[in-house]
């Protein structure tokens, strides 16, 4: 598939916001540390506001994926059957509950943690919807597995908890070590799952073949013409157009940036007690996440490509 930047930004920005919300609600429920009520108020309301901004940015990016963005309001209609429609409902639900959570902490409402639980539930629901958009397409086999969901959740949590550490360094330093510990955990488990996912996808045997695509049993079939000389939607949308070497390099780039590079920068930041280094670690990790999501799309091999092998 051809990776679309709109969807790459949507899934990475929202994923980070969702992970950050879990981090906020976790601290809200567990508490601990020496954080004054005044700084807790800033920490939670400001943090939830950051979640809202990140999600809104992701939502804004998603509009660029649409041919007719002015009709976006129609897209919640088919929630009974379409995971995309469910996502369209889950995003504003997450945005709304996060906004309420920010407001409740800002205005010192006692029920703020309950709203946090609601926002966290919306974050989890949004992950399920986003991942299922891809995982439900059974013939795009690189996507059609539980790995898609687990990977989205783990990488979202890794970036969300890294952001939480950055935010805590400024607003509630007592919580930085706990957030960093959680971020390391998500990064390690995330790396393990991503490697398993890469291994699974590398071992996939194609179910559809040129033989089943045109229904001719002969083992030797060559396409001579795809019926269009200048390409078509089918050649633009479903091929990334990059070399195998490029794809391989993107894989190395995201594996290095997300895992060892950002983890070491986080550890260095922790050792030097440097908020600035934490932000650098987050930016490096986010660059890696963009590469990871690009790779996720590029690696998907659509069976329609069997019909579009030769330009002539």
């Amino acid at each position: 598939m051809k990776p679309a930047w709109s969807v790459i930004f949507l899934t990475t920005l929202c994923g980070m916001a969702q992970g950050f919300m879990l981090a906020l609600v976790g601290a809200d429920l567990i508490g601990g540390g020496h954080v004054t009520p005044a700084s807790a108020r800033i920490f939670f309301s400001g943090g939830a506001a950051i979640c809202v901004v990140l999600t809104a940015l992701g939502l804004f990016a998603s509009f660029f994926h649409l041919g007719r963005p002015e009709r976006f309001w129609r897209s919640a209609a088919m929630w009974r059957t379409s995971w995309l429609s469910r996502e369209v409902i889950a995003v504003p639900a997450f945005l709304g509950s996060s906004s309420f959570y920010a407001w409740a902490h800002y205005s010192g409402q006692a029920y703020a943690p309950a709203l946090g639980v609601l926002a966290a539930a919306c974050a989890l629901a949004l992950w399920v919807c986003t991942a299922m958009i891809y995982a439900c397409l059974r013939f795009i086999r690189e996507w059609a597995s539980a790995y898609t969901l687990v990977n989205f959740v783990l990488l979202g949590c890794a970036s969300g908890f890294t952001l939480a550490a950055c935010w805590a360094a400024w607003a509630a330093p007592a919580w930085v070590p706990a957030y960093l510990a959680a971020a390391y955990l998500f990064l390690i488990v995330g790396l393990l799952v991503r490697l398993l996912m890469l291994r699974r996808n590398a071992s996939l045997k194609p179910v559809s073949t040129l033989q089943s695509a045109i229904g001719i049993k002969n083992p030797k079939i060559q396409q001579k013409s795809m019926g269009a000389m200048g390409g078509s939607f089918n050649t633009r949308e479903f091929f990334h157009g990059k070399s195998a070497l490029f794809i391989k390099n993107v894989r190395w780039i995201f594996l290095v940036l997300i895992f060892p590079a950002s983890t070491m920068l986080l550890a260095l930041a922790e050792q030097r007690v440097s908020g600035l280094l934490l932000v650098v670690a987050l930016l490096v990790q986010y660059a890696g996440l963009l590469a990871e999501r690009w790779f996720f799309f590029a690696q998907a091999n659509h069976p329609q490509n069997l019909y579009y092998q030769v330009v002539s």
Binding site: M1, H65, L66, G67, R68, P69, R71, F72, R74, S75, A76, A77, M78, T81, S82, W83, L84, S85, V88, I133, C136, L137, R138, F139, I140, V207, S208, L210, S212, A213, I214, G215, I216, N218, K220, I221, Q222, Q223, K224, S225, M226, G227, A228, M229, G230, G231, S232, F233, N234, E237, F238, H302, P303, Q304, N305, Y307, Y308
Partner: protein, 213 residues
């Protein structure tokens, strides 16, 4: 229940592309709006087509065959493109099984195209909505066209009658008989989309022994 469909005879398709051009002509001229062409007179012309004819070489030289393979929406009985549509723009008509896109509801998210294993859908770059073969729904349900013209434009245009049209749920229709008696098959049966359109395989023909001529 009716399921209109095409049956394509690979024995007689000569790859002339008459179905492609007549499809384009009919469907670009209707009330649903033109099928956009990109750079039509330039170096690399591209555009929206509902039907394409591809060519494959089967076998190993000298025992090769050239197979011309017309390809359009298969109007699946269980179309994976329909349930994924977030707006309900993609739908399958109950009365005749035709899979259609409501261009006024489509937001151009392309998710249905991702969900179609056959690559049967093309986003119109001009109107920015998803388009696909309508089985010439405006012709086949017309009450004003002469009765023998109430067929898809591609079927009307085919000079070798490689394209049969009819109700595959009616056991006695021309298409059902052709599928039954001539081994009609569906594309990519592994995904259980139950394509309504089927293809008639080439009959095994004997090689001509030149020495005996």
């Amino acid at each position: 229940m009716t399921q209109l469909a095409l049956v394509i005879d690979l024995n007689v398709c000569v790859g002339c592309h008459a179905c492609v051009t007549s499809c384009k002509q009919w469907n670009t001229s209707g009330s649903a709006g033109p099928l956009e062409d990109l750079n039509p007179y330039g170096e690399s012309p591209s555009g929206t087509f509902f039907n394409r004819v591809q060519t494959y070489e089967v076998g190993e030289f000298p025992l090769t065959e050239t197979v011309h393979f017309p390809k359009s929406c298969l109007h699946c009985e269980d179309p994976p493109c329909v349930p994924v549509c977030p707006t309900g723009a993609s739908y399958k008509r109950k009365e005749d099984g035709i899979v259609l896109v409501d261009y006024d509801k489509c937001i151009g998210c392309k998710y249905c195209a991702w969900a179609c294993p056959y690559g049967a859908r093309e986003l119109d770059e001009g109107r920015k909505v998803m388009t696909k073969c309508t089985l010439c729904v405006d012709r086949v349900t017309s009450t004003t066209l002469p009765e023998d013209e109430r067929k898809p434009a591609c079927v009307m245009a085919c000079p070798t009658s490689a394209r049969l049209f009819g109700d595959v749920h009616d056991e006695n229709s021309e298409v059902s008989v052709a599928i039954r008696e001539r081994g009609g098959y569906a594309l990519m049966p592994e995904w259980e989309t139950k394509p309504a359109n089927q293809y008639l395989p080439r009959k095994i023909t004997e090689l001509i022994d030149e020495a005996k001529l």
